[in-house]
Structure formats: structure tokens, C-alpha cells
């Protein structure tokens, strides 16, 4: 896919809306096209986290699993949603498992590169952190609602 197209996909994503063109171009430098087949594990709880994914089509289950516990789905994400942010903080390990529920077309961003760019350019850093913090917050809310529902 051409760089221009990648930039267009990112630009049209709600998360990246309002980013300056130069910032979008910076993100495109860290972006690659990826595809997953139904049932594929996109990433697994506990493993090192390097990338995030912008879903272009298909549905992804964000799951929680641990020994003695059957995996359960915390939420289902779809077109336009972003998965993966654990590359932002030590210990840089996945908190959830992401599983493709169908064919997934996505754009993958290299987390380390994005972090470096944010460190160098706080305008970009500010805009991106505002967005990623909100994603994490959204997961906290989903976990809390779930907790309330299951706690005796």
C-alpha cells in the first residue's frame, strides 16, 4: 500500500483526527499493513509488547486469561478501534490477549519508534498520549464494570 494511502487511513481514524500532517507522516514511517486469519492470536497476555494495531476491518476479542481461569472476553473491538498500548510503560508486557474473530485487516505501528518520536517532539507526544491514555482509561472502565457484575 502506498504511503499516501496509509496516511489517509490513519487520518480518517477517529483516534488520529486532528493530528497535524507532519505528525501523521511521522506515524506512517512506523506503520505497516498486517492481516490476521480467524482465530489468530494477535498478541498474548504476558508477552513483550512492541506494537499497536489500528483495525481496518474485522472484529477482535480482547480477552483475559490466567491459570485456573477460562479465557473470557472483556470487550470486542472493531473497525476504527486501536488495540495495544502496553509498549508505553515498563514492563512492556501485554495485559490482555487479542484474538481475531474473523479476517482482520489492520495497520500496525511500531511502539518503540512512536515512543522515540514522542520524546523528541512533545507536540506529537502530547497529542498521542492524550489519545492513548483515553484508550487505557476505557479498558479500566470495562474492567470495573465487569468486576462489579461478577463480585459477590
Amino acid at each position: 500500500m502506498e504511503t499516501a494511502t496509509l496516511e489517509k487511513v490513519l487520518e480518517e481514524n477517529a483516534l488520529f483526527k486532528g493530528l497535524k500532517e507532519q505528525h501523521l507522516r511521522t506515524l506512517v514511517e512506523s506503520a505497516t499493513i498486517v492481516r490476521f486469519e480467524p482465530g489468530d492470536v494477535i498478541f498474548e497476555e504476558g508477552e513483550p509488547a512492541h506494537r499497536c494495531y489500528v483495525i481496518r476491518s474485522g472484529k477482535v476479542a480482547l480477552q483475559l486469561e490466567s491459570y485456573r481461569v477460562e479465557p473470557f472476553t472483556l470487550m470486542t473491538l472493531e473497525e476504527g478501534d486501536i488495540i495495544g498500548w502496553s509498549w508505553l510503560f515498563p514492563p512492556y508486557r501485554r495485559k490482555f490477549t487479542a484474538r481475531a474473530l474473523g479476517v482482520i485487516r489492520a495497520i500496525s505501528l511500531d511502539g518503540r519508534q512512536v515512543c522515540e518520536r514522542c520524546e523528541q517532539d512533545h507536540d506529537l507526544g502530547y497529542e498521542l498520549m492524550k489519545r492513548f491514555a483515553q484508550i487505557i482509561e476505557n479498558r479500566v472502565e470495562a474492567l470495573s464494570v465487569h468486576l462489579v457484575a461478577v463480585e459477590k
Binding site: V69, A133, I136, L143, V150
Partner: protein, 152 residues
């Protein structure tokens, strides 16, 4: 006498925050006290502050239709309370109630948000720190949820 800025700079949350930014934050901070039982903020209300707890204990609660308020986390000295002032719609997702007499620094989040919007160096520093607080909360809630599942 220890200055407010001196006390704040010793807190891990403000670790390595450049002096001019710390000064800005200090300008938005005041001392507050809550008696045991006081409501610090309520779910759904406008979120315009965050708190750095100096002494005491605060229960973070979420309302369950079925069982009323449920405590999801207890915070104490050194903990940061509140991040909803950072993201639209700027409303509290949880309620906070002092369960012991509590002393805290209250920071005017609305004022900081506006300053961060103008000064992205400050904004980046603050967002990195708050994103980390949100991430720690996520981990605490995730472990709590896994515990509930393992106990069942």
C-alpha cells in the same frame, strides 16, 4: 519551613519534572482536608480536580444497580486520585469517599488542562504521568478481577 513546591518535588509522581513545570503545577495546588465519611467526588459530576493523598484513606466506588455502591479500590498516602478531568466529557467515572480523616493536595485540573493545551512540553510530561497512573489502576483492577474469578 518546607515549601509546597519542595513537598511536591519529593513525590514520585513529580519525579524529574522540570522545575518550570513543577512551578506551574504548584500554582494550581491547594491543601484540603476531608473527614471520615466525606464524599470527595461523585460519579457523574463534573471532574475538575485531582488529589495527591498525603494522609488517610479513600475508597473509590462504582455504583451497581443491583447492590448499590461497591468499593473497587482503596487509596492511601502517596496515591494519586482522579484523572477524569483529563478527558472529555470531564465527568467522574467513580465516586470517592474518605474512609478515614484525609489530608491531600488538590490540584485544579481544569486550570492545568488549559495550561497543558498551550504548553505541550508541560502537557506531555503530565499526560505521561497520568497515563501511567491509569495503567497502574488498570493492573490493580485486572488482578482483582482475576482473583474474583479464581475464587469462584
Amino acid at each position: 519551613m518546607e515549601t509546597l513546591q519542595g513537598i511536591l518535588s519529593a513525590h514520585p509522581f513529580f519525579n524529574d519534572l522540570p522545575a518550570p513545570h513543577l512551578e506551574t503545577v504548584t500554582g494550581c495546588v491547594s491543601n484540603v482536608r476531608f473527614k471520615a465519611g466525606d464524599v470527595i467526588f461523585r460519579e457523574g459530576e463534573e471532574a475538575d480536580h485531582f488529589y495527591l493523598i498525603r494522609e488517610g484513606k479513600v475508597a473509590l466506588r462504582i455504583h451497581s444497580e443491583r447492590r448499590g455502591p461497591l468499593t473497587i479500590l482503596t487509596l492511601g498516602a502517596g496515591d494519586i486520585l482522579g484523572w477524569s478531568w483529563l478527558f472529555p466529557p470531564y465527568r467522574w467515572k467513580f465516586s470517592a469517599r474518605a474512609i478515614e480523616d484525609t489530608r491531600a493536595f488538590a490540584a485544579d485540573g481544569k486550570c492545568l488542562r488549559e495550561k497543558a493545551e498551550r504548553d505541550h512540553d508541560l502537557g506531555y510530561e503530565l499526560l505521561m504521568r497520568f497515563a501511567h497512573v491509569v495503567e497502574e489502576r488498570l493492573e490493580a483492577t485486572r488482578l482483582q478481577l482475576l482473583n474474583v474469578y479464581q475464587d469462584q
